[in-house]
Amino acid sequence: MDRVYNALKEIVGERFVSNQQEELYLYSRDPGTMDPVWPDYVVMPASTEEVQKIVMLANQEKIPLVPQGGGLVLSGLTIPLKGGILVDMKRMNRIIEVNKNSRYVIVEAGCSHGLLQSYLNQNYPDLRHSLPDSPPISTVGGNVCIHGSGHLSQVYGFHSDMVNGMEVVLPTGEICKIGSCSTSPYWFARAPLPDLAGLFLGWFGTTGIMTKISLKLYPHKRMKDVMLFLTENPEYISDIIYKVTDTEVAEDITISCAPKPDWMDGFQLTSIAIVGRNKAELDFKFRTIRSALASYIDSREGGFMYMPPAMKHNFTEVPLRSTARFADVKKGGGFEYVGAIMPVDKFPDAYRAGHEIAQRCETTYSLSARIIGRAHCMMFSCAYAFNRADKADVDRAKQALHETNKAVLELGGIPWKAEFPAQQLILERMDPNTLRLMEQVRKLMDPNGIMNPGNWEVK
């Protein structure tokens, strides 16, 4: 009998461990273009203690461990590059505590964004958290692990900036608390202690498994609207963003450009979300933003698209269902994107590069950008849809992604949640001392090299 399987069964119970081909097949791949690599086991722990036992077992057996949240990263970060145990965290989805007045929530890391949104809506209607554009099954833990961003990121930064603290099972099995909760019963901030959260955020699960997270919550103003500003010159965008963010009344700001539908081809659609407690607040914000962009309207170079109220839902919905529909553009169930974190003034260059690459690779694309912070940077994405039943089409998308990653780095941007080949491109350019520091940190924390091996490693 399989010793590891039996040990895992002992830890989580028979229903929540598998070494059967059906589960191994599904967890060997994600909806993106990365080639599959089969895990040896899939396990679903229900508590920190179970995670700890799994980590101890992996150390004992020297077998890789790959933690997974929603499994929707698209760039293969939870494909077990060296096999081993895939740890699906979605059973750990409890909402542990909401501290209303301090505006934070403590959740288990496998808690889905959809569940948290729904829970807050029902129990704390004045509070909300920032949701990524990914489907609602994406998890809080998975998303902060990759420096995700979402519909409140223009105001409050990356989702990893919204983490107050966390509980982590270290690669050696110790349960460790990060932030104020390491010293106090409250999970209110990472300051004033040395910020150890940086040992985990953005590391793709290569430095431990997050089990609990304290996430910042924000006021929830229930009235919302969207303003759609249309231009046909990408050179205008960074100025438009500067002007709109200067008002400090906008919430989410995204720019989208795509050849389909026809009327979008050649245009840039800047979508500006606004919220308010009442109509007067909404009207004030609306007027403020309009006035900030008056010079474009007066010169007739840009204008707000009229949108009947009933259609605005397609823009204000959170999470946005239409994002997932992009996967069916080619009737093929697939898309992947390069999301580049880069300065906003690189928009025109990135826009042109995206167009050129899509044309060269003859693939369907969609370009978009989300502003992070007050235009401190943006997440510029070039998304390519593909038909997973057509290998040539998948290869075209893969080629386009690779070229985009290279172009992004040339422009001074950095691919976000980079897939394995893109990580290599990043590491090639990285300051050698930084790279060495990363390696030393890894070695110190994970002496057996069991945590999601292959990622953030020089090949």
């Binding site: 059906e22 499994g71 997932a324």
Partner: protein, 386 residues
């Protein structure tokens, strides 16, 4: 396989697992097992892999496919509006492929064999089929306005028989021109169809439509939402020329026409939408209207209701094959706990399968003194006694 050109189009985004507000996992199998394989998206990817020969058939594969309750939550929630309406049908087609290759789980094989040999899943004699109606006042169908079709569960299962009798008495009380088929009634074939045995289903559908035509049946009242579903949606392909109604729709009409006047019943009730009445056929109103017409009855909703209703776990053939299984995380157990949380003392149902599933779960969960399962017809009948 039919729909083979669609299966690869699933992105596996996971909307299909949820209720519309994401508060719960609403796919009964995913909620129980939590492995990707037991989600609708997982099934789509596995079927694709099986068809492409990336995966070989296995018993586990068959269990995954047959555990689906065809509750249609995925159809409701999937965002891919170009093909989401086919999801349940794709799972049924995959089962059909397994039936053709003789690769079905033993309980599925036995169910189909029993229908083939005995005409019902219980291997009971046909002459016993109408026994439940003794003392109801119902007679054989003879040029009546309505045919009361009871189905296998209503005819043979003890719990189902109680429902069948209660409804029969109500229809008589209302003075409706109605008859039954008794020992001549045949299985409706809904479960045969969803288990993937299309040949046997065709045979049953033809037998029933021919028999109804010969008898001059114009309108059918169905006790079970399963029979209601299959007769309404699929029998017309076999020449059916009759209208099918679910019994709650008939009761609501009779109440509106004052042919039934429910009496006082001081109880707090929550109502469970059966999948084949609700999501499959969009009927959420009539059962609630009937309940609300009972003076004194207070109707409270479970968190998951109407399109977000959580399946009892008995759909897709699981009522008979039990592949989805029981236990504290079984759909029926989860659902009865949800019903208890409303503070209701009665869980009202409109389907004999749901009734049985919930009664069993209540016993397993030890909730007998907190919750009772009552069918809507039983509640109306009880109110009339006062």
């Amino acid at each position: 396989m039919q729909y083979a050109d669609i299966v690869h189009r699933c992105f596996r985004c996971g909307y299909c697992n949820f209720t519309s507000d994401f508060q719960d996992f609403n796919c009964p199998t995913y909620n129980k097992y939590r492995m990707l394989s037991y989600s609708p998206g997982g099934r789509m990817w596995l079927i694709n892999a099986w068809l492409n020969k990336e995966l070989q058939w296995s018993e586990h594969f068959a269990d995954i496919m047959y555990s689906c309750a065809t509750c249609n939550n995925c159809v409701e929630e999937c965002v891919q509006n170009k093909f989401n309406s086919y999801l349940s049908e794709i799972f049924i087609a995959a089962r059909g492929e397994m039936v053709e290759q003789g690769l079905v789980p033993p309980t599925v094989r036995d169910y189909l064999k029993n229908i083939q040999l005995s005409g019902n899943p219980y291997r009971a004699p046909a002459e016993d089929r109408g026994k439940w109606s003794e003392g109801s006042g119902l007679t054989r169908f003879q040029n009546d306005e309505y045919l009361y079709y009871v189905g296998c569960v209503g005819s043979y299962d003890e719990r189902g028989q109680k429902m069948a009798l209660a409804l029969g008495k109500l229809l008589i009380k209302a003075g409706l021109s109605v008859g039954i088929l008794g020992s001549d009634e045949k299985c409706d074939g809904n479960e045969v169809r969803v288990l993937g045995e299309s040949m046997l289903f065709e045979e049953l559908a033809r037998q029933n439509t021919d028999q109804f035509a010969q008898l001059g049946v114009k309108k059918v009242i169905s006790l079970s939402p399963h029979a209601f579903n299959v007769m309404k949606k699929y029998y017309p392909d076999y020449g059916a020329g009759f209208d099918t109604l679910h019994y709650t729709q008939v009761l609501w009409e009779l109440i509106k026409l004052k042919k039934l006047n429910p009496g006082q019943l001081e109880i707090r009730v929550t109502y469970h939408d059966p999948c084949y009445l609700g999501r499959h056929n969009g009927e959420y109103r009539a059962p609630r209207k009937v309940l609300q017409s009972i003076p004194g009855l207070s109707l409270v909703e479970m968190r998951r209701n109407r399109k977000d209703s959580f399946c009892c776990g008995g759909g897709g053939g699981n009522f008979f094959t039990d592949i989805l299984g029981s236990g504290p995380d079984s759909p029926a157990a989860v659902r009865v706990k949800e019903a208890v949380a409303t503070g209701a003392e009665v869980l009202a149902v409109a389907c004999p399968n749901c009734a049985k599933m919930f009664e069993d779960a209540i016993k397993v969960e030890g909730l007998e003194d907190r919750l009772q399962v009552r069918d809507i017809a039983e509640l109306v009948l009880e109110s009339l006694k006062d």
